[in-house]
Every structure is written in C-alpha cells, then in structure tokens.
Symmetry: D2
Subunit: 396 residues, 4 copies
C-alpha cells in the first residue's frame, strides 16, 4: 500500500501529472519545533536540474504544511504536506504511446490495475518520492534533536567506477579509511562534489562515466552508501521486523533499486567467521556510561536484527535508468514488434539525486523503530525489578 | 513484531529452550486440501544433521496441525502449528556465559529487553525459522495448486567459490546457461548435491571450502539464489510494498543474512540501460492468451514493483556463522577483556540449510501479494467497463 | 491513529483552524468512474447552516480530487482529497481560554500530547469528519455500483422523543411498520424532514425538543438509526473483526457518540431465545438463485460476526453537545474554581447533521469487508473442489 | 482477522473440536513476573459448570505457557499459550445436522468460507474466548502492577430484571449508589453471587428469571457492566481509534453481544447538556500532584476519545443464547421447511460466564492504549521544551 511505518506512519499520494503530490505523517511526537524550513532543504536536494549531470528540467517543489502544527510546534496530530504539480496536463498523444517502455512500469501497472495513468509513469514516477523525502526530514529532525542521530548518504559507485572500499571488502580486506569516512562524512562534503561522491580519487571517473553515458544517449547504474551515526542500541523488532529487514524493505521500495547490503554485505560472505566476528570491547558512551562497543564493524551496527550502538551502514544498488535517448526494438501493447523512438532528454544516472531519498527512507525506518522501542523502555521502567533467579538472563 | 503478511499472516513463537516452537497462520484460503504431509517435507529439509557438512545434532521436528482443518481440508480459520522442543532445559552455567558472543544477538537482546533467554540465543535461534518454513509450505501448496508456481532455491556461492553466472553478471555478460537453469532447476536436483548447489562444476570446491572451515574451527559465508516460476503478472503493491521490497524484507529477516539483490542486482549497476532494458515481445501464455513477455530478464521478473510474469529470481547473502570452535579475544558483559573459549561443534556454513527457509519466505511474500491482488481483480470485475475516454490509459 | 480500514484505507488530517482538512484513500478499486460530483452531495449534507435547527455558521466545503483519477476513472492509486479551511486564524484570546470546556476534549488532548490546538477543538472538531464523509461517498459509489447496496440513516430519537419502534422493541414486541420502513426509507425522504426523521408522527415533537433546548441555551442528545440494504452474505472477519464489531468501532469513533446497538440491541436482552431466534426460510435472491433468508431479523443482518444477506440495521447514541450557551461552574486549567461564561451560538443537537457521517462510516466498514471477502472468494475459486468426505462440513 | 491490538497483539486459534485452542501474545513488556498462576484464575472463572444456573458440562482448561518466559519472568518475546481440547471428535451425524441452527453462525460461516466445521460452531464457539481471557489476564497483570488498574465486571440485568441505576439513568436521574458501587465493587463480591450481580436487591429476581427460562427450555439475555479504575489520563488515539471505539470493537467481538454503551450511553441521549456536562474540579492524584477531576462522570471516563483519569465504565448487551432446548420451525440448508428438534442441555443465559471475558477484552484495549501512549510520552520527554509562543496551546 502507500503507507509506511507502524507508529510513525507516512501515507503518500500523487501521480506525475495529477494536481498535487504529498503525504500525511501520522504519529509525529508532539511538542517538537517544526516549520517548512526543516523540510525544504532535503526536498531541494532531491530536485532535478542541479548540475549538468542530471536532467535539465526545473521544478519548484515548495512544500506547505497543511495541518498538525501551530506556531511552529507539532501537535501530535497528522501532518498534511502538499506540493502542487506544475505540469498537470497529461501529455500529448504520440507514436511512442503505443509502446510500453522497456523496463518501465507501464505494462505492469496495466496488468495490475487494468488501467494506468495516461502518462505511463503514474505512481512509479520519481515524483512520488517527494512525500517520502518530506516525511524523512521530519523524522530526521526528531532523531537529531533527541539522540544526535546523523544520516549521510553518498554515491559509492557509478557503473564500474567504485570507491576503493568496495573492492577491498570484496577481497576480505579492511579499509580503515572507509570506516573513518563513515565516522566523519557530512552532507556539505557530499554536496560539494558534482556526483555526490566524497572520495576525490573516484569522483572524476564517475563524472566521466555519466557524461559518457549521456553522450551515447544511454544510461548507467550505480550504488549509494549510507551511514547512520549515534543510533541508540536496542532498535529493531525480532523476528520479522529486524532493523536490517526494514531498511532493506525501505530501500527496495525506492524506484530503480535492485539490491541492498548491510555491513559486510555480499563481499562479507567470502570471509571467515574468525575475521568477520566483531569482538566486544569496553566503551564509554556520550553520557559517560560504561557500555560495550565492538572493535570492528562487519555487522554494520546491527546484530540479531537489533542495533548495537555502532554505526549502521549499508549500500543500495540502482539500475541504469530505463529511459534512454536512443531507439529500442521492442513490442507494442498489442504485441506487434516495432521500434520505440528516442524521446526527450533524461537523467543518465540517478544515484546523485537518490542520495536524499536514501537518507529519508533510512530516517523513516529508524524513527519508527525508536518510537516502538520507547514504548517498551517506558513500559518496563514502570515494573518493579524482578528477582534475578538466573543471572544468565541478565548478563551478570 | 513476530507477524508477517497482511492477508496471509503468520505469527511465530518460541525460543530455543522453551517448551515448544510454532506458529499461527491466519488467512489461508478455505477449501484447500492440507495435512501434515504437505508441511513435513520442508521442515525435514531444514533439519540439521543431514550430511557431514552440517552440525551433527539431530532434532525430530514433527509438526502437528492443531486447528484450522477438518478431514484434511482447510476451514479458512487460523491454522495452529506446534513443534515441541526436545531439549527444554536451559543449559548449564559455565565460564563462557560471562561473555556476550561476538556477532551474536546476546548483547543486543539484553540492550533491547533488559533481559534475555538464559541460553543467549532465544528468538534469534534458527529454531524460530521452523514456524516460517511450516507456514511457507502451506503458502506454496496454495500457489502451486492455483497457479502452478514453483519455487526453487539453491546455493550459488560458498566463500569465494561462486557459480559462474555471478562473475559473468559482474562483467556485464549474459550467461544463457544460468537462465536455462532458472527455467529448469528442481528441488530433487538441488538436494542431490551435498551442498545443495546444482552446478556440478562449482559444488566440489564449495564442499572443500566448508570442510576447510570446519577443520580450521572456523566458519564461512555464502549466497543462496532463488527462482520463482509461473508467478502471475500484477503482484506487488506500489509504492512502499513493491514486490521486491517485500522480498528484501522477508530475506533480511532470516537470521545471518547480510544482503539481497533482485535480477541483475549489484552487478547490474555497471551495465548500460541500452543493454539492461528488457525489450518486450509477444508471447502466448499457458491459457493460450496472447500477452507480452520480455526477451531478456535483468529486471528479475518485477518492474515498477509489480510482477511481469517472467521468472522472479534473487540472491541472498549469508554471513559466516558467528559461532566458531576457536577461542576469541573479546569482552565480558561487565566490560572486562578476556578470552571466550571454544565450545561445542557447530555448523561451519549455513547456506545449505538456509535453502528451504529462503523458499518459504519467498512463498509467504508471493502468497500475500496474490491474496491482495485477488481482492482487486474481483472488485474491478464487478464494475461496468468505464468508457475509455483516453486510450493512453488502457494501452490501446 | 488517523487511518481506518485494512484494504480500503482512509487516512484523515486537519484541525479546525489549520490550512486545510482532507484525507487520502488508499485501495479504491481501479476502473471506477469517479468525480467530485460523486462526493460533494454527502459533504453538503453534513454542512451546518441548513435549517434553523442547526448552527448558523456557513462553510463552503468544496472538495477537490488531487490524485488517483484520470478522465473521471479511478487508477487504483491513492486518492488525495483536500478541503481548504475558510477560517485559518486561531481565535482571539479571552477569559474563557483559561478553562478547559467541560465534557470537551481540551483537557484530555493536553494530557495526551502535552500541547493542544490553541482553538481547543483541534482534531476533536467536527471538521475532521469531512474526510470520513468524502471517503465514505467513494466507498458507497463502489458498493452501490457493484451490489446495489443502499445505506440510509435517519434520526430515531431526540431527547426523550422516540420513534415508536424503540419503545416496542423495549417491550419485546415487533413493530412491522419499522421493518417496512427499513426496507423502503430513502435519503430524499429523510432530508424532506427538518430533523431528518422519516416518521411524521415523531418529527414535530423532536423539532420542539430541539427548539426548547435552543431557547434554554441548552443542548439535547438523540439517536440515529441506520439501515444497510443488499449487503452480500459472507462479510465480516471472525473473531475480532466481526462485522458488528467494526461497525461499533466506526460509530464510536464519531465525535459525541455514547452507544451502539445492532439488531435487537439492548431491548433484545429482555427477550427469550425462542422469540429472538431468526428462523430460516427458503428465498430467491436477486440473481434468481435459491438461498436462505430469515423470517424475522432480530440479528440485524449479522450472525456470528458475518452478514447473512438480510438488512443490517443499528442505532447510535449521541450525547447532548458539550458546547452550550449558558454559564457553567467549573475549574480552570490551574485548578482554580470559576464560572465559564457563555460564548457564541452553537448547535443544540447534532443528530440531524450526524446522519451522513453515520452513513459514511457504515460505508467504510462494509467496503473494507467486501474487499477482504473478495480476496477469499477469488482465492478459493482457483482451487479444485475438495472431495467432500464429511457432508456436515458443507451443509449437505 | 484473528489478531487484536497494535503493540500488545493477541492472535487466537482453535475451533471447538480441533486438537487445541490457544493464542500467541506478542509485545508483552519484558521483565514482568508471570507464571500460569497469573492466568489460570480468569480461565477458571469463565469455565462452565460453576453453578446450577449454567451448563453442566465440565471442562478442564489448564493453560500452559509454551514460550516467552524463563524462570517466571517475561522475555519480551511472544508468549505462546495452549489449552488442549478434551473432546476432539467431531460429533455424530444426526437429523439435526441438516438444519443451520437459527441465529447461530452455521449458515453464515458456510456462506463466507464455502465450508464450515462439521460441529457447526467452529470459531464462533465460546471456546475461542479462552485465548482472549488468557491474554487479558496477562494484560491485567501489567496494568495492575504498573498503575494499580482494577477491572471489575458484573451482571447488571437479566432479561427485564435490571439493577436500579439503569432505570434511573433512563429517567435522567443520578444514582449516587451506582457511582459508589463503581468505586468499590470487587471480583470476590461479584463471584459471591450466583448470577454475579453485586446488588442483593436485584440478584434473586435475576436468578428466578434464568431458572424460569431453563424450565421453559428457553433462554434469556442480559447485560454486563464493567468498570476500569485508576486508568491514567491520556489513553486513546484520535480520531478513529478513540478509546471508547476500541472498547466497543472489543466488546462487540465477544460472541452473542448486541450493544455497547459508555458512560451515560443511550439513556444519556435524553439529558440536557447543562446536566450532562462533567464540570472540572481541582484534585490531588495518588502521587500527590494537583490535577483536574470531574464532579460528575456522565462521560464514562473518556472525553474526545481520550481517558481523563476518572473511572471508565460501560455496559454490554448479550442476546438470549440461540441454542434452546425446544423444537423450532425453520428450514434446512437445502431450503426445505422443517422442525429442528431440541437437543442436549444448554446455558439458558450467558451473562454470568461473560463477566471475565468482558474484563479480559477491556484489559486488552487499555493495555494496547497504554503501550502506545508510553511511546509518545517517552518520545516527547527527550525533546527540549519548546518556547511557548501561544499560551493557549498549553492551557496556561
């Protein structure tokens, strides 16, 4: 359906050529300061037309809060967000409309619903992600205020051009620079790069790869890596709603994604347990409490489906965009073979624009997990401490 | 939580050393023939002790249907399934209990709940998957009866030893043998191999790799690939519950998983759109209806989050098991550094046993999507056909 | 939360003085003709200012469909509905603001959220029901088109003035005129009466009662009875989501409601089973099929939580409105005793305006139950018919 | 479906003649002391055969906790509960089986599922309530431990014999003795009476009424009133999940219920607002904090869908049991008219046995609302206090 989350629940609406897109956010904690200025920056970051590497269309996505706040404070009631579509006219009929676009959703939407948006894209359009990004910004505001959580995503590969840590992970080697990067990378650093890759050694080749695809009227895929810092330990619900399971769900719900890996991911399958296991070590947390940390972090900050307080990091695969500016041999809706002519100008690679979307979906997952864990924490705090008949149950 | 699915909903219960594990399956279609013999085979396939490559423990997991059927027919009411635990005693206290096991869930469960099963494992134990496998077998029974759906998973890599298609996909080449395998592979073929890999060229090296890990008191990871054949087109719910998003969620909820990729996955990010796009072609389906198919299948059978009728295939990454038979430097619950001694004998690699679990979770996802789409299909069928004012909306 | 329904899910947003109120309707069957003209009539029926019996405020509640349809046909995607608030300014500060209004939600909202809308009402305002009524109109459109379902609510009592069937039910007698009315009453008939009571013998005394309350600067309660005709048999989900349980949930979620009874309700508790039992009788349905009906209908069209094809009817109690135009002895937020002065002009009785709200919530419940049952019906239809080993299971 | 609750979620399974009935309780707070002795008493209270007023069958319903606790402490993981059925054989075939029993669920189950339990009753049997009562006992344990919550239900009418407060409420008069009773009544007091009515002036006539029905081979309905004391203020989720809406849902999901009213209920509709409004007054709560209470309690402890800290009380209507020991004119499944002969001995009135079921469902509703509100409370507590730009928002 079009809702995501259990206690922090987002419901989105809107096709590419309808009157408006938007969302309703139910379950935002009351008493939080919130205005449009908390939301707009991420929406602006996802807008197209920000460099010569992306599509030249320009859309003004100005969000307006319709409900759920007063005098800049959340009421705890649903927050309605609303972004009018600039171009509300279904497009003109043309020869290309006889074809379902290859690897697009035109044909599957028709199979599912028996009818589809005349523009084809409909809900599979990237415009649907506006609601997610807006909601994610609100979740982030809470997480940062309450826990100092920081979420930063960046482009880690474009086509075959990868940041070095990927290859190193693949050969079972640790790249200490990568873990330092995860600790330190910021959004301004990411945005300072044309392709949103914070690794100056890899970025130029990535740009090159995108420009090449563009020149060849083709497209290219890539990956986005995301780190979430200062996540409290204890988030994630066994067994089906493990934190990494919800992250995977969230990421694979983003248009054009084909894969998700957490921590050591696919490369980690080639490691031995004796290397891969993250040994525990005593650590002092930000409140000065003694707790446990781990000396390595192949787990990606989650063990048994529950956050352990280390950095959570994961990587998301994006396929080459299906819309390309060259003719394609394919078939019409009626089965007739034919050539789908090239049309318009398009984004040769989506990963740079996907960065804030990945961050937003990550924020939604962590936020929901936080709200659920808050219920448990407070519920147990009201109980008398049980007699500890078996110390094994308490780690003592 | 411990429930999965919206209309076909499974709720599991049980720790490793409690009285029993089991599940309740709500929403099974009424009027389907079902007895324990439909469920037991997959449970037996997930049991340990089936070859010298897995752990030598032997557990008899005999399922009993408690409710929801009469005279071998489902009533449409909840099906209670129940498997008693053989060993219900919490284990004896020992030195090792002062340590949270590295990369296990001991510490995170304690952080989350403030208390944990004395055995440590609790719900993170592989025994929890019994309920999933039993439920999956029921889902599969329906899917096969109604649509002829076939779900077959197999081991595609162990450590660095990979079936060849993986490397080929990584270099942007198509491996026609792989797509033939996806069309034809069967469970008996898979089970005929000691490591459940249907590729005789790769299997011996995989076995070798596992035996090596075993000898070295170590463990090793791997991947499982799964194909779902004859899935009807139209399954999956935009936008958040795309079919691949639910599959990713399901797979990452299996213990020890670290990654998921659908269709071309991570390797596909290096391709160009002009290669990656799956062109349409006219096809005659099993009912003799003319429909569209695709000439390639990099999409993995899903486009825009909706099944297109082609084979759905995906790959799941499993980390090296955290339990190893060698000593580890780590810290105690109280923060004191120390050496966690080796203990017992354990499974050096989980992928072979994971095969039926992957199949079961896949079945649960597809089943739920089928039930949801059935509602839509029947609902629309009761409406008069709307005047088709804009042919673009109907692909005509 | 602010969502209702499982497959036909409505999410509302909006306070009384924010920018807009509205809702998102997810799960509407695709291919249904739908424009604003299908929705506006019920919104207009719930507007205040329609007679001298209701509050003189005049609000223009013009709904606009933002998404989910094209060329007047539903796409199956979320339908965003939006009604701007005319008066968006929080009201001026006054002496009365120091008091939580007795039997209003001011104080409980503050207890729940730690903050409340400055206007007090917030989400507890009747404006929130706009989203429900709009969504209900869409549900009704489907139900009427697919099954000919008719939903008609009417005022059955105002204060102590009751339609005669209520007293008769209370004394265990059948009122045949009541069951005829349930079969035949229409919305135009209901609207033709100033108080929306279709019983000319009771209506004048009801009006009198309301005018008396108005003159005395007081308010008065009442009840609304609703009938749902031509509901297919088989709706409602045992055990927790019995059809009457969902109806009760829906009705008690309407502001100012205090009770719900189905069929014989509270009066039926005084009957003997030999009278109360609804005997079966052979009947020919609208499609000419032989089926069973019942000779009486104390069950109210639902048995064991499942619709039986007879008229569903129920009654809802509305308390006297808490806002009255006379001074009240009460306490301030700070605990200080005082007199809350009278303010403004208000609705002395809400039942007439509640009529379309009751109908709308009934439509939402039945619609969701229909969509869920459609899934089951189609799922079973794809199975081979099981051998009927025990005829008791099939009523043969 | 067969699940109830969002964070404290109960899933029940079991028909009357299957192997076992039971439930899974997900979301119980960890660290709470819990053994079977906390659960058994309420199960025993719901057993038949406790006086000559109820059915003489004797069933031993001994509950066993299968999972979710260790050493008498909850782990926070799902609690599996299991009660074997004594009589697992489907009953013998007889003439009566050709008839769907009037006002039973035989026919509607067949319409819904196309198949039904051969015993007819299936899930509509009162045995299904075992799972609810067991789960309710766990919820109550938490609520009592954490907040001192007390839930007491009692029989308030049998047939036309009512406790006096009902008639007084109907004539708009306050019965101070009733509100004293709500404050003080205990379960031992209730159980001391044969019909579980704590009013010695009404009880003998109620017994008489039941014995009369029994002698006449007939049945009789009645009502159960329930009070929930010491509920914290702030529970209940606007707008659709108001606390009274969830209570109504819960109560109407109990077999044989026909109505629900909260606080002044249906009788309150005849009152004027000036009488019905519950004025505020300063009060000191149990922690010695100054807060607001109300001088009267027509609201029933809930305003705007949110608990206000006063006693919550409501009344539930139960119809006369459909199973009666006299012949009935009705029709067979095949439509043929006939006489359904009397069979066996049955409960002439269910209200006394329903008492613990009403209490249990009330506990489930309050428990879930508590867990949801705990999330909100803790979430807001982690935010800095916002600048109070508009004091109206904070009641200052």
């Amino acid at each position: 359906m079009s809702s995501f989350g259990q206690l922090f629940r987002v419901t989105t609406f809107g096709e590419s050529h309808c009157k408006a897109v938007g969302c309703v956010i139910d379950g935002c904690p009351p008493g939080m300061q919130l205005t449009e200025t908390d939301i707009q920056p991420q929406l602006t970051r996802r807008r197209p037309g920000q460099s010569n590497l992306t599509t030249p269309r320009d859309e003004k996505d100005q969000v307006v809060i319709q409900s759920g706040t007063e005098f800049g404070v959340t009421l705890g009631t649903p927050i309605g967000l609303f972004v009018p579509n600039q171009d509300q006219r279904p497009h003109d009929y043309s020869e290309t409309d006889f074809f379902p676009r290859p690897s697009h959703a035109d044909w599957t939407y028709l199979q599912k619903y028996g009818v589809k948006a005349s523009s084809g894209g409909g809900r599979s359009s990237a415009r649907e992600t506006i609601g997610r990004v807006a909601a994610g910004a609100i979740a982030e505001k809470y997480l940062h205020t309450a826990y100092g959580v920081e979420i930063v995503a960046f482009v880690s590969s474009v086509g075959p051009v990868e940041m070095p840590f990927i290859q190193q992970m693949r050969s079972g080697k640790t790249d200490p620079g990568f873990f330092t990067l995860l600790n330190e990378v910021t959004r301004p650093q990411v945005d300072a790069d044309a392709v949103r890759c914070p690794d100056a050694s890899a970025s130029p080749a990535m740009c090159q790869e995108i420009l090449r695809a563009k020149e060849e009227s083709d497209s290219i895929g890539g990956t986005v890596t995301c780190v979430i810092r200062k996540v409290p330990a204890g988030l994630g619900e066994p067994c089906f709603d493990k934190l990494e399971a919800k992250l995977a769900h969230a990421m694979l719900s983003i248009p054009a994604t084909k894969g998700f890996e957490i921590g050591s991911g696919f490369p980690g399958t080639a490691m031995n347990g004796s290397v891969h296991n993250d040994a525990f070590v005593s650590r002092t947390d930000e409140q000065g409490q003694t707790t446990l940390g781990t000396t390595s972090n192949y787990s990606g900050g989650i063990q048994g489906g529950i956050s352990n307080g280390e950095n959570i990091y994961f990587r998301v695969a994006f396929k080459p965009p299906a819309t390309i500016s060259q003719a394609q041999n394919t078939a019409k809706y009626n089965g007739e073979a034919g050539v789908l002519a090239a049309r318009g100008r398009h984004d040769p690679c989506v990963v740079a624009r996907a960065v804030p979307i990945v961050e937003s979906m990550a924020a939604l997952v962590v936020m929901d997990a936080v709200l659920i864990q808050h219920s448990r924490t407070m519920s147990t705090s009201l109980l008398p401490v049980a007699e500890k008949k078996n110390p094994l149950m308490y780690g003592i």
